[in-house]
Symmetry: C2
Amino acid sequence: MDNKKTFKIEEKTTKADKDTEHRIFEAARKIFHLKGLDGARMQEIADEAGINKAMLHYYFRSKDKLFGSIFEEDFKEFFKRLAELISADLPLLEKIEFFVENYLELILQNSYIPAFILSEIHHNPERIKNIFLEKGIKAEQIFVDDIKTAISLGIIRPIDPKQLIVNIIGLCIFPIVAKPILCTMLSFDEEGYRNFIEERKKEVARFVINSIKIN
Amino acid sequence: MDNKKTFKIEEKTTKADKDTEHRIFEAARKIFHLKGLDGARMQEIADEAGINKAMLHYYFRSKDKLFGSIFEEDFKEFFKRLAELISADLPLLEKIEFFVENYLELILQNSYIPAFILSEIHHNPERIKNIFLEKGIKAEQIFVDDIKTAISLGIIRPIDPKQLIVNIIGLCIFPIVAKPILCTMLSFDEEGYRNFIEERKKEVARFVINSIKIN
DNA sequence: TTTTGTATTAACCATTTAGTTATATTATAT
DNA sequence: ATATAATATAACTAAATGGTTAATACAAAA
């Protein structure tokens, strides 16, 4: 009995990363990214985390609360990174190059996030608004000002800054979110797709700058 | 009893659009667009169609089959319309103007479709591939050829046709799919958003043509 | 060592869900 | 008219699902 107990304690100490909560969080993130809120099963998340289903409710009250936590973190993180890129202290045209290259890489390495956000935004627009309202996420004003300045300096042609921003972001996000369609329509294998996106890091900036630059 | 029967027959004849199947189809489309495959409930679809739940299984064998039928039709219709626009017999630059204006209006008036397709494509990429393989949907070759010709004629600068096509489509689809984010981030109300998209019908073509046109 | 609060589990519960069945009604063809 | 096939319903079933509970293991404080 003492023997058994000792063993148990060892085992406990070893595996006790202590942060069961964190394990749950990462497991849930994975499953929710893959299957969405409705498609995910609490049991599957528990299995993925290697713990009992009751633990999910012990740490997070309900499925919706658990999903909400993850969505909020993903959403904030995504926009935080976006804000960092947008706030880079560079002349507009260089900033566009910098932004496109880094933003594309960012969403490429977190390719579940945009689809995850778009999907949830579509099914439950309220959640977004609340997060936006709570935390004041509005980095885009910096970009708008940059654009206005560049226009008045005659560096770029007149264009509605909002249209330009949507253009740049759309050019980056779309090919990542629509990956399976692109692969099928344009006959890409995994490598072909990767090359295509790699090309885009230069091509999108070139495309945008060509369109707006004066001279 | 005769009375009752007569009434019943009248009622039947009146409402008997005959096409219960069609009613189910439209109801299911509505619910699936709104809630997705996992979020939709067979009972809700039956209620929406005003019939018994068993009828759903009578006409379509299962939830998945029903969803499949709708997805396939939406998907094909969407790409059929896209193919029509792409095949217009116009010089490239005019075709781009024509395409952007009409494609934007198309997805604006079917705004559930792109998100619906993107979401499903993400959760079940196989379904897409099968539809693509069954029906040979590849209208984009026409566009690719147009672009190559325009390049060799010196009308536009050299650019990878695939990149250009993805650019154009992304510029159209993104602001529709991401509507709730745009509205929150850029402080649009419903009218402001509508104006923004209306502006885009000209702006996107201008943006693209500015970028690629020589002279 | 005992107590106390926290972490964890297995078993359970109530509800919901897709799908079925047995039965009735209606139209159609003989 | 009558048999037959198609259409519709209400009631049901079996499985799955989110969530709960009662009982325990464990660590840390007393």
